[in-house]
Symmetry: C2
Subunit: 208 residues, 2 copies
């Protein structure tokens, strides 16, 4: 059985990274999709782990080759999702989780309708503000901007299949894993198992 692609979006401060790391640790046969970027590597970052770091020219080649599932430009740097490692994992039966902002997630859904979109957020916008404040270095202007962005993301969220409220990391991770498990039980992906039985099952068959 081939793997499934799970695209997770949600406001900054929702705790997506913590929840996804928990899922990767606890669940078998799931991989985190690494994005490509043209921004320079920072101290401590590892190529192929944090990002695939490529030159601006090479990134534009990837775009031209249609080798990205989605891409966008932020403050002069490209960010995108290489399609090839994902295809390979799915073919091996390994699930993929990825953390993609809303515009990118909706582009992916258009291109791969079988992708499963999960919106993950904190129990309230107040809680998002609190979590962002506790990180310390967010100016009031940036805060207003991020909350406005969160609000816009909430308005788009009806386009997602699932909503997970991250009130507790363990609980939210368990809920996300239940979604991943259930998605693998979909009849659409499994009906062939019954069909194989049917093709064998005849009154004459000595095994049936």
């Amino acid at each position: 059985m081939s793997g499934k692609l799970f695209v997770i979006s949600g406001p900054s401060g929702a705790g997506k990274n913590t929840v996804l790391n928990r899922v990767i640790t606890l669940r078998d046969r799931v991989r985190y999709s690494v994005s490509a970027t043209s921004r320079p590597i920072r101290p401590g970052e590892i190529d192929g782990k944090n990002y695939y770091f490529v030159s601006r020219e090479d990134f534009e080649k990837l775009i031209a080759q249609d080798a990205l599932l989605e891409h966008a430009e932020y403050v002069g740097n490209y960010y995108g999702t290489p399609i090839e490692p994902i295809r390979r994992s799915l073919a091996e039966g390994v699930d993929i989780v990825m953390d993609v902002e809303v515009v990118g997630a909706l582009k992916i859904k258009k291109r791969m309708p079988e992708a499963v979109l999960v919106f993950l957020t904190a129990p309230s916008l107040q809680e998002i503000r609190r979590r962002l404040e506790s990180r310390g270095d967010v100016s009031e202007e940036k805060m207003t901007e991020r909350l406005a962005r969160a609000r816009w993301e909430y308005e788009q969220a009806y386009q997602y299949e699932y909503l997970v409220i991250n009130d507790d990391v363990d609980r939210a991770a368990a809920e996300l894993m239940a979604i991943m498990s259930a998605e693998k039980s979909k009849m659409m992906d499994r009906f062939h198992l019954l069909k194989e039985e049917l093709s064998c099952f005849t009154p004459q068959c000595p095994n049936c």
Copy 2:
């Protein structure tokens, strides 16, 4: 949040009862739907637990009142699903699981499209034969009949949302519980949580 209705079907010998009992024991806020029947009560059976035992006349009144989610007649006795206890549980936020054969399950889906249909079966038809044989008292004629029925059920199974293969009771119960959990995370049922946040969230709001 209101409860959800989970309708489980599958061939005789699939192990539905064992799996459902495990789920009822392990999962909170889930109830088993008790059917009504006009057949006489048997020694050891408890009214309201195994079935609601009613007279033929009273059963026909239930039909006339449209008080059954589905019903059918087998060898001269009526069997059906009273709608009222289900409505009450769902309103209390308690999920319902029920074991209904295929025709009844599809009728329920038509009447309550929000019902979740799960097909549960053994890993193979051979395994179903083996399990039925191990029960001891099945004649060769009955066996042929049951396997033909299983085959017909397999052909209808594409109308179900999920397929669970009962290769191991604990694993199958965990898979069914993951489906139940994931269905409660559906955006459609939860978008109001985000909407409530949005209605509050304005730049002027002192809390946001």
